[in-house]
Amino acid sequence: MYIDPGNEKPIFLQIAEQLEDSIFTGLYSEEEKIPSTNEISSLFHINPHTVLKGMNLLVDDGVIYKKRGLGMYVAKGAVEKIRAKRQNLFYDQYIATLIDEAKKLQLSKEQIVKLIERGYDNESNSNQ
């Protein structure tokens, strides 16, 4: 986890995204406890209210939940929820910007498709 106060993204969003990523990659598994606001707050010198605001975004998404007096835990089905959310965002975040940049570079649709195929080929070659 790394919080950068100079980043364009507000700190509470950085916290939400990085916790979400840690859950998605399996650092914290389902029904496991995530770090407390206190731990994150004192490690990165961030106001605890900011940390809580970030965590509450994940609570609203149903990715984590609060156990009274114990802390925040990863919800059942959290990984699947994150995957579904990210699949929905994939078009906006990657495809739309890819086409945008391709147009600026005057790359045709066919060339893009070829590049994507090349990317998949490289991956399967390196996996052999």
Partner: protein, 292 residues
């Protein structure tokens, strides 16, 4: 609501040839349970304000209330507020241990055990005389005194003066873990703006004895941005916007603006980025509260 309410506070220093108005009708609140950054340039009036809050000097005009009670020489608010400031308040022939002992005589909420534990964490020898301490450790024994007092309003005037990076990290860490366990109001007056920018929830900027700005850190940082481009385009873009300052380098002008980005006026030569709190502070206090 629990808060320190500062109402219309004015402080005049009578000097022979040149009277000085250090505070000019300042009104603001420090609400309970929040961390405030009190920022201002040298001589802006921060320390005057803090000294009035803790009855070390008295206002020419105006009032301070703490949780609804007057703070003016009132024993009932004594255990509510503590100000850690640059000056030494004890005779400097005292040892650190003696300072702790006398603080506990004056404040029933002083936690001696905590003071000794913290001293150990900072590597402070409590048998050392205060006057023999280095600049850093002079700040440290005062920080420890403040953190060991269980008061609802804790004010720090330049708490990290002379502290090395390790001790500054330790201070911020202790401050936040303490705040989490024991919610209270913390006011930090400092020149090291970037160090506290993610730690504070509310920002108050004092300039020339007046409140220049009071906002949440998140809101202020979200609405501040810089835009760079050719001087002519930047000048055109800035019309009608709240510009806090400019910088210029060969063929390029950078404007610092508060407000929303006007997407349809951004030309391809322009580049937008965020501004940090320190830059915003420098530009705001250069402008001195007036529109450019």
């Amino acid at each position: 609501m629990k808060a320190i309410r500062i109402n219309n506070l004015t402080k005049d220093y009578k000097r022979q040839n040149q009277p000085l108005r250090a505070l000019d009708h300042v009104s603001l609140n420090f609400e309970f349970g929040k961390i405030y950054g009190l920022l201002g340039r040298n001589g802006a009036g921060k320390s005057t304000l803090i000294n009035i809050l803790c009855n070390r000097i008295f206002a020419t005009e105006g009032t301070v209330d703490i949780d609804g009670m007057s703070a003016f020489e009132n024993p009932d608010v004594h255990e509510k507020i503590y100000c850690m400031s640059e000056g030494n308040l004890c005779p400097d022939s005292f040892s650190v241990k003696e300072v702790f002992k006398w603080t506990s005589e004056f404040y029933s909420c002083f936690d001696m055990e905590k003071a000794l534990t913290l001293s150990e964490m900072f590597g402070l020898n409590v048998r050392q005389k205060v006057k023999k301490l280095s600049t850093g450790y002079k700040s440290i024994y005062k920080i420890i005194t403040a953190l060991s007092l269980n008061v609802p309003y804790l004010i720090f005037d330049e708490p990290v003066l002379g502290l090395d990076a390790n001790h500054r990290e330790l201070f911020y860490k202790l401050l936040l873990s303490d705040y989490e366990k024991n919610p209270r109001t913390i006011v930090i007056a400092t020149h090291l703006i970037e160090e506290v920018s993610s730690l504070i929830e509310e920002i108050i900027i004092i300039d020339n004895g007046r409140v220049l700005l009071s906002d949440t850190a998140e809101h202020l940082l979200a609405k501040g941005y810089s835009i760079a481009g050719t001087p002519a385009n930047i000048d055109a873009y800035c019309k009608g916007k709240d510009v806090v300052g400019y910088d210029e380098i060969a063929g390029m002008k950078i404007a610092y603006i508060l407000g929303d980005v006007q997407e349809d006026a951004v030309t391809p030569d322009m580049h937008i980025s965020t501004i940090n709190l320190q830059k915003l502070f420098v530009k705001l206090t250069e402008r001195g509260g007036k529109p450019l």
